[in-house]
Amino acid sequence: MPAPDPCAFTRRRFISNGLTLASAAIAAPAFLQRTALALPGLRPDLSSLPGVPQDKILVVVQLSGGNDGLNTVVPFGDPAYYRARPQIGIAQRDALVLSQEQGIGLHPAMTGVKGLYDDGLCCVVQGVGYPNPNRSHFTSMDIWHTADTSATGDGWLGRYFDSECCGHGKGESGSEEPQGQPGIAIGRTAPLAMQGRAIKPIAFESPALFRWTGQDVHESLHEPYDALVSAGVSDSVDPGSNAAFLMRTALDAQISSDLIRRAVDRGASRSYPGTPLGQQLAMVAAMINAGLNTRVYYVSHGGFDTHAGQGGPQGQHANLLRTLGDAMKAFYDDLKRQENAERVLSMSFSEFGRRVGQNNSGGTDHGTAAPMFMFGPMVRSGILGNHPSLKDLDDGDLKFHIDFRTVYAAVLKDWMGAEPKDILDQPWRPAPIIRTQG
């Protein structure tokens, strides 16, 4: 078995000939082999074969600022709702009815979500929260991210990554262990939820930023950059040293960057709304379509801190919800065209809901329990749990009756196939969100 010269495999050859790479890797030295396995690889052969079990994907949609749950899933059957919200309440005739007998419906701007619901692709999880709710944006967000009411520790998805990749130190960027980019966040920085001990997610606002900008300064810099930065580990370097670690990471970065940018460039679909959330989900869909082996994508949609002038059927909050619904609808339409919809579960959450009564500024202040939305062909479509009571309140706030960690447990166990009790500290019973197969 002849061992090829490691330096002979330049990045360009990797990219131009991805499939040859996979077989060449058998004879290649360790770093090439690792990288070949580790690539968030293009796998057109695996992306949509019917009947072949495929890796499942989670897309987390964070609604930042505290989404007003009561005007999202509207209890139009309850007079107490209209008493508490004389100006901003959504009239029954405007609501998109989910259940006439329960007297609940969606905000009229959420036609996209209603469409998914009608197609059996949406589960509304009612009254989600946790004990002793915290009303600070930071702290409550950290609680959701760590799945821990003390708001400390690693992120819940980070712990999942760690548990999947066999422990501390292994699988870290640039290590010898096979890995891909298990988590990709679209945004400036990766969220706490995805920060593990060993695995750190990657984050970029757009793939165009996930690259060396020095190459824009002059085109003659490309060649020497490839040779100096993306050549992998040179022979003279101890493979266990920090220098070798950095060289491996630099090669990983270059390969991931090329693949991700090519995936998005090639696959950019025009069928998405031009909103930031729509564009984020378009990128995610393109990466899924390209067959990256990323398991978790994270997108966010901000502006939900509606203390003043949040509006009713129209206005600030309506626009936020329309953006959410339209983007999710476009996303699943696209995934269906790709024949990837069955692989993708999406979950929206916010750090808290808002108070039952409107305030004097035509808005709502920080509150507690709120609905979550789960999307995808594999969810148990419908409404899970009762709408929180508007009479049995806790100092003007809704009482939760589904702990968010039971939702996480469902995602981990019933979707990702992981053991929730290793990840969530307590053995939370998965909420019945995912359809049981067969």
Binding site: G174, Q181, L209, W212, G214, S220, A243, F245, S256, N360
Partner: protein, 506 residues
């Protein structure tokens, strides 16, 4: 200097004759944020002892002291009696208008305070870039990571500023003094909930972290020590921005902590800690990780040389009664510190990378807000450490995203290039790398026309050595641009070098 005379074998100083350019360069990077070729030459000329003393004896370098009125102290303040009355009245009468106004005022103050913490981040960054006393700022950053406290929970920038000043004042002082001060520091008290602790319900957070993270390390105390330590710390709280000892909340009963007993208070608790050899051992291990090499926080068998070195440092620290200077001096003078397994092996922290680039390559600073943003993207948001454990450092700084940010902030400094388009500064402020070559050209005028010598010099200056493949690539690059290292070619050379994986090391 009794302590120096009794140095053990592990702390043997580097022979004076072996302190040259490479060693001076190493010292400048580790004890500070790197230096220019001229600064390296100066230190090499001074020799080991004078160089180390110069870096450590910061009081001999006169600078303007930090002004206490640098920032506003009362953006966040307790409500006045009048405000409290107004609030109570509004609540009682359910006067939504007044309540809304009070809420809006509170939110306005919080917004102002978030602006002030951002100013503070830029202020500290500028200080690191401009200080003539780099070791002082480097130690301030060390203590910030050691006694990690985040604005995220404190939400009072003035408290963060006061704490930062505490670290600066004691940067090269005495570990004991710092521990006595830290249990009185309002930011720390708030961060670890000691303001919610009283004799009836002692909160254990501060007592636990004081031993686990700040002084002894895990496993060197018992759960009983934590319980009793928490009692000793009851009543240590703050009012507005000042420390207060509230006698009625303090548990005056007798306690037993780490072998000491009696009616112990917080100071007695700290004294009991300082009496433990493990305290010196733990602090020295943290110092070693910061300045020398990334060893595990808990000693294991993997690095016997480092372990022996740390043990001797700890003995020295105990003999010096926790004064830092003899310890740091011995560390920077030691042969071990200049060894081949130490030099060019440490992954630069984001601050070290960026501040070091400006200081050593003489790049423009451009926009401090952009630099500060990059620190956050690289994982070292000043005043916002990720947890009470501080930053893990070492390899945890590096992943595929942060590596691109590290490369890209260098292109920003050198050319003004942003991810999309150029910074407004790019047109007026152009990088001039020529001063870097001054010492080379004056010693070797022929180098001007021999680009291979310039490349070799630049590599040794920036990454500490000149790997042959890198030399060959860069030579070929210059050859492709007409053999002459003009201003733009020089900038391009530096740009390429700073993108190399090796540039992340020091």
């Amino acid at each position: 200097m009794a302590t120096v005379r009794s140095l053990s074998r592990e702390l043997t100083p580097l022979p004076a004759s072996r302190f040259g350019y490479a060693e001076a360069r190493h010292l400048l990077w580790r004890a500070g944020f790197g230096g220019t070729p001229e600064q390296i030459q100066t230190l090499a000329g001074w020799g080991l002892d004078r160089s180390v003393d110069y870096l450590i004896e910061v009081e001999k370098v006169t600078t303007e002291p930090v002004r206490e009125d640098e920032f506003q102290s009362d953006i966040i303040r307790p409500a006045t009696e009048e405000e409290r009355m107004a609030y109570r009245r509004a609540r009682a009468s359910q006067d939504e208008n007044v309540l809304a106004r009070l809420r809006a005022e509170q939110q306005r103050r919080e917004r102002m305070d978030r602006q002030q913490i951002a100013e503070m981040q830029r202020w500290w960054l500028r200080r690191m870039i401009e200080t003539p006393k780099p070791l002082e700022e480097k130690m301030t950053l060390f203590w910030h990571g050691h006694f990690a406290t985040s604005f995220r929970k404190i939400e009072d920038s003035w408290m963060m500023f006061r704490q930062n000043q505490l670290f600066r004042t004691h940067a090269l002082g005495n570990v004991g003094d710092l521990l006595f001060q830290i249990i009185r520091d309002p930011a720390m008290i708030k961060y670890l909930d000691n303001d919610r602790s009283n004799a009836e319900h002692p909160n254990e957070n501060l007592a636990r972290e004081l031993m686990e993270l700040f002084s002894l390390g895990e496993g060197n105390y018992s759960e009983q020590d934590i319980k009793e330590g928490a009692r000793a710390l009851t009543g240590y709280t703050f009012e507005d921005d000042e420390f207060r000892f509230v006698d009625r909340n303090h548990d005056k009963g007798s306690k037993r902590i780490l072998g000491a007993s009696g009616r112990l208070d917080g100071d007695d608790f700290v004294r009991a800690i300082l009496a433990q050899r493990n305290c010196a051992q733990f602090i020295c291990r943290k110092l070693y990780r910061y300045f020398v090499a990334d060893v595990p926080l808990v000693e294991d068998a993997s690095q016997p040389d480092a372990n022996a070195f740390i043990r001797e440092l700890a003995s020295l620290m105990l003999r010096a009664r926790y004064d830092l200077r003899p310890v740091i001096r011995a560390m920077f003078r030691s042969e071990h510190f200049y060894g081949a397994t130490v030099r060019n092996q440490q992954i630069k922290s984001p601050a070290q990378l960026m501040v070091g680039a400006v200081r050593s390559l003489l790049t423009p600073t451009r926009d401090l807000a952009v630099l500060n943003d990059a620190l956050d993207l690289m994982g070292q948001d000043l005043f916002f450490p990720p947890s009470v454990k501080g930053w893990d450092g070492g390899r945890s700084w590096i992943n595929t995203s942060t590596l691109f940010v590290r490369q890209n902030i260098m292109s920003y400094l050198l050319t003004g290039r942003m991810p999309q388009g150029y910074d407004p500064s790019a047109r007026e402020v152009r990088y001039d790398g020529e001063p870097l070559l001054a010492s080379l050209i004056s010693a070797d005028p022929d180098a001007r026309t021999n680009h291979d010598r310039i490349v070799e010099f630049l590599l040794r200056f920036t990454i500490g050595h000149a790997p042959s493949h890198a030399k060959a690539e860069l030579d070929a690059f210059v050859a492709g641009h007409g053999e002459r290292v003009s201003g733009d070619v020089l900038t391009a050379l530096v740009l390429l070098i700073t993108a190399m994986p090796e540039y992340q090391l020091t």
